[in-house]
């Protein structure tokens, strides 16, 4: 029994712990790990192709690129939602049916996306930047592009079903989403330290991602209309705004959902509950606005954007780093410091996730400075920073939570586990570091073939990526092997 159990009252289990609920969690874990691994293979293949170690024709490269982006973003969404569901159901009553419906609709979407790419040759990238889906130049047709859009819509509907269930459950328990977020406590100054951090974070995720997905649904429908009625011209700048609003919000919320695992798991090792306070509630309220308003930093090189929007993109990007570094990361470090925590793989992974997130936002903020963006935009600096806070931030938070759920009752870290953890962390830093250094040297992102001076960087990335893949394969195998023992009460 951990120090936590002795000193911290466990969360009440509001949602019944049924075999169906356990099956749902196991399904998410199995699908999540499997798809993450497959998409990592795709990523390594692309780096090897850029490094001239594999001969990949450009059409296949861009199909793999599209698959990698859509697959990773979608799976990150599902995995983040699984972490949120795993802990939120301890405070509010969630429906297993809605959770499973999200997976079912997502699988329908995945099938459509695979058909679009595999059979239709669609290679418009996961960001499907209008009007590219309608300009396949013979490589893909209208049907393939439309199938991709409909696949996205199916996944989006699945997420909306899940978020609607979460929203209703939070409202039933706390009276409103504002109360779930703790706004009443923030305004009155009477903070209830027992108000669960998981509920605060979940409420933020619900509010923000519903708006993001609705933005995505609008642009997907507009793209479908444009595909079949080319005479109806959409404004490319408006479409770009909607796409990046949707894309930015969706991928960011995956981290904000996964971080719930940090708030819940670290205290169980340290014996120190993660009490909410005004700074915590204020920062999460601010995060709602920050995540919704920061997306113009993707459009800094679109000079047709109003100057105020570009300035907002830069300033809000900077502000967004403060809650990450000085609230969540700081809170995690204070909670850990001289706590007597007994380290094992789940805790290592969760703490690595906080590090990856906190460190990864730094190059992101730097890139959001317009003067820097002028020479860094769409170089490999961009995947450098987002891989940092996803591969070393979001993913370890998810893996740590899953491993915790599967091993809590009999935790033990063999020396091999420790070796694999450090292999993952160090190779992950190198993998992202190569991306960042490549960006400094002007290497373009999304190039199927590389100029001679760029090839060495891709080869270094392929090697580091392979080590990361092997380590995640090991960790994923550990989780899958123990999945039958998963506990919703860990």
């Amino acid at each position: 029994m951990s120090a936590y159990a002795a000193s911290v009252k466990p969360a009440p289990f509001v949602t019944p712990d049924t075999p169906r609920a356990k099956f749902a969690f196991q399904l998410y874990a199995a699908v999540g790990i499997s798809v993450f691994l497959l998409m990592m293979v795709a990523g390594v293949i692309m780096r090897a192709g850029q490094g001239a170690w594999l001969g990949i024709p450009p059409n296949y490269f861009y199909e793999v690129l599209t698959l990698h982006g859509a697959g990773m973003v979608g799976t990150a969404g599902l995995a983040g939602a699984a972490v949120m569901w795993y802990f939120l159901r301890r405070y509010v009553e969630l429906s297993n049916g809605a959770f499973l419906a999200m997976m079912g609709l997502s699988l329908v979407g995945v099938v459509l996306i695979l058909l679009s790419i595999g059979l239709g040759g669609f290679a418009g990238a996961w960001t499907f930047l209008y009007p590219l889906p309608g300009h396949g130049m013979g490589l893909w047709g209208t049907g393939a592009a439309a199938t991709f859009m409909i696949g996205y819509l199916a996944i989006g509907v699945g997420f909306l079903v899940f978020y609607a269930d979460c929203a209703l459950a939070i409202i039933r328990r706390y009276g409103s989403l504002a109360r779930g977020l703790g706004l009443d406590q923030l305004i009155s100054g009477k903070v209830d330290p027992a108000h669960p951090a998981a509920v605060v974070a979940s409420t933020m995720a619900v509010i923000v991602n519903v708006l993001g997905i609705l933005g995505g649904a609008i642009v997907l429908v507009m793209t479908l209309v444009a595909l079949y009625e080319p005479g109806i011209a959409m404004d490319p700048l408006l479409m770009k705004n909607l796409i990046y609003f949707f894309g930015h919000v969706f991928i960011n919320v995956t981290i904000y959902m996964a971080v719930i695992g940090v708030y819940e798991i670290i205290p169980r090792y340290t014996g120190r509950p993660w009490k909410v306070n005004r700074a915590f509630l204020g920062s999460w309220a601010a995060v709602v606005l920050l995540v919704l308003s920061v997306y113009p930093h993707h459009l800094l090189m679109d000079y047709a954007m109003p100057r105020w929007a570009a300035a907002m993109g830069q300033i809000v990007s900077y502000l967004s780093g403060i809650p990450v570094i000085l609230v969540t990361a700081w809170g995690a470090l204070v909670n850990l410091h001289r706590s007597g925590a007994k380290w094992d793989t789940p805790l290592r992974l969760v703490v690595l996730g906080v590090f990856g997130w906190a460190a990864g936002v730094i190059p992101a903020i730097v890139d959001a400075t317009i003067r820097v963006n002028l020479v860094m935009h769409n170089t490999l600096w961009v995947p450098g920073h987002f891989h940092f806070y996803l591969l070393l931030g979001m993913l370890p938070m998810v893996l740590g939570t899953l491993l915790y759920a599967c091993t809590r009752e009999g935790r033990a870290s063999a020396p091999l586990d420790k070796l694999v953890f450090w292999g993952y962390a160090i190779a992950g830093v190198l993998f992202c570091g190569v991306f960042l250094d490549s960006g400094v040297h002007g290497i373009a992102r999304r190039f199927a073939t590389y100029d001679a001076p760029w090839i060495g960087y891709a080869q270094a990335g392929a090697v580091a990526g392979t080590v990361v893949l092997v380590c995640v394969l090991f960790l994923g195998g550990r989780i899958l092997a123990r999945l039958p023992r998963a506990s919703l009460a860990a």
Partner: protein, 176 residues
């Protein structure tokens, strides 16, 4: 600019890493009272938030007071040379493709089909400047080339299968 961005990022990321390693290394052993650690730990956070906010204001003013995109600055005068650059899947049409060094050159960027990116490279590993190229809009990128030579134009917005091959050259010659 690239080196400044890289070195600043490296220093700050390393600092975050060192703090994490230091705290994790001291997390084992005999536990210390949580309230004591919490009081010590959070004592620094409030001032740090203020430092971050003040630094943010200084950075914002410093980097945005003179608008960083010269063609759109309030005091932007007329350029010395105007170049029309038109993008299409997958080629550039740049007129004129020879410009003088030391003069303000404005690239007026058009697209006839999808989104592209117009990036000027001094060599294979150094981006001089860039802008998005969007159908229905004209983006104006101003550059003053200090060194004569051949500058590669690469497309930096994914635009389809031959995206990586969508290239051109702008020649910069000495004198007027």
């Amino acid at each position: 600019m690239q080196q400044v961005a890289w070195e600043l990022s490296l220093v700050l990321m390393a600092l975050v890493g060192i703090v994490f390693l230091w705290v994790c290394a001291r997390s084992g052993g005999a536990p210390v009272d949580a309230a004591t650690v919490s009081a010590r730990g959070y004592r620094w956070r409030g001032p740090l938030v203020w430092v971050a906010l003040v630094a943010g204001v200084v950075i914002a003013i410093g980097t945005l007071r003179h608008w960083p995109l010269p063609a759109y600055a309030r005091d932007a005068g007329a350029p010395d040379v105007v170049v029309q650059a038109t993008a299409r899947q997958w080629s550039w049409d740049i007129v004129p493709d020879t410009v003088p060094a030391g003069k303000t050159v404005e690239f007026q960027l058009h697209s006839t089909d999808v989104n592209h990116g117009f990036a000027l490279y001094r060599d294979a590993t150094h981006v001089v400047a860039q802008a998005q190229v969007m159908p229905g809009y004209v983006n104006r990128l101003r550059v003053r080339f200090d060194q004569p030579g051949e500058y590669q134009v690469l497309c930096l917005e994914y635009c389809g299968i031959a995206h990586a091959n969508m290239r051109a050259v702008v020649k910069v010659v000495a004198g007027s």
